[in-house]
Subunit: 195 residues, 2 copies
DNA sequence: AGAATCAATTGACATATGTCACATTATTGC
DNA sequence: GCAATAATGTGACATATGTCAATTGATTCT
């Protein structure tokens, strides 16, 4: 097996016990892709036909609200991303997924996933687990939004996703936690003064 | 089949194509229970060992934050409720589920569900679908929390869950949408004046 | 039915945050 | 490397909302 699929293998076998042979049979369904910073994996109105395992890079998910972008997710190395509802239900996506850095992904189509379901039930179970992961992510986001003040929201993100704060611009973080970028800027300067 | 299980059967066969025989084999696992207003299905720190189909009544899910209750979900007739993460992962619940009205539920234990998994794979698929429903609920809640003003949040709930507003006290709704009950009270009087 | 408890309303006030405007600093592209 | 563009930081100000307190209205329980 080429080394480029080694990390997705670890990622999957970390979630679920899977025989090496079973995994290797899926290799033909995987496609390695390079995505340029600023490019989109998914856009509003289209159906997300692939799920992407991120080998390198960083993506944001956002939707448009009154013409403004609202970020809902940041995904980086060693995780999977897609417009979940669109991918699962084959319906038009309400959101965009954009690369914030040059990225390398391993792409798996919905068709491929269905044929893997047929070949081995472990792929069904993996799908169920990925839905559970999505639930956990949504729960985490609800928590992030439920904090009362901008400062609390930022400090929470600082501990729950420190790498996001290191790599994502302040305007995108502000949008994610639901405060204006000016307020977040003031919160940050206030915090750095205290230290 | 006694009539008391007719509605849960409709509910399940609405989600997934299921042979009548397959469903009937599960009947022995269902338990009918009556819950008094104010009583709890799940409390913080315990493991949610059952999932409940609600035949009658209304439940709220909440957690404690700095000693204050924060509502996260209202469930009523013809839907299922449990502390999802606790039930799925067999870990201590971080939330409470309380009856806001006298209720009748049909209860299914985690053990029973696992044995149904063995008997027929349609129950596995049902489980995945219930997780998708949970995802949709969480997404809806994120949307509710993402509106900017108290008025927008309330008006959204008014259209998305009108029955909740009819049956749930204002203090619980305020907690759900993340505003103080005083503010919600003012928002409501403002809205009724305009009409 | 009446007492007691709980829920909702309303007023006064302090404040966190959004918005606009502009200055400053980074980043990008040629 | 330099111009152009984008991102971030700050000040001034208006306002939506939380908090506290007091009142009114509704439920509950014996």
């Amino acid at each position: 097996m080429s080394t480029e699929f080694q990390d997705i293998k670890s990622h999957i076998t970390n979630l679920i016990q899977m025989n090496e042979e079973v995994f290797n049979l899926a290799l033909g369904h995987f496609t390695l892709k390079h995505i340029k910073k600023g490019d989109y994996l998914v856009t509003e109105g289209t159906i997300a036909k692939h799920i992407a395992y991120i080998r390198k890079g960083l993506f944001r998910t956002f939707y448009l609200k009154d013409g403004n972008e609202v970020n809902t997710c940041f995904c980086m190395e060693n995780s999977m991303t897609t417009s979940h509802e669109s991918f699962v239900n084959k319906k038009a996506s309400t959101e965009y997924i954009q690369a914030l850095e040059d990225a390398t992904i391993i792409s798996l189509s919905h068709e491929s996933l269905l044929s893997l379901y047929e070949s081995n039930s472990e792929w069904v179970e993996l799908s169920r687990l990925l839905t559970e992961v999505e639930c956990a992510r949504l729960t985490e986001r609800i928590k992030a939004l439920s904090f009362e003040t901008a400062k609390e929201k930022y400090l929470h993100l600082l501990t729950s996703q420190p790498k996001v704060i290191q790599r994502v611009s302040i305007q995108h973080i502000a949008s994610y936690i639901g405060v204006s970028r000016e307020t977040l800027s003031r919160v940050r300067s206030q915090i750095s003064q205290l230290q």
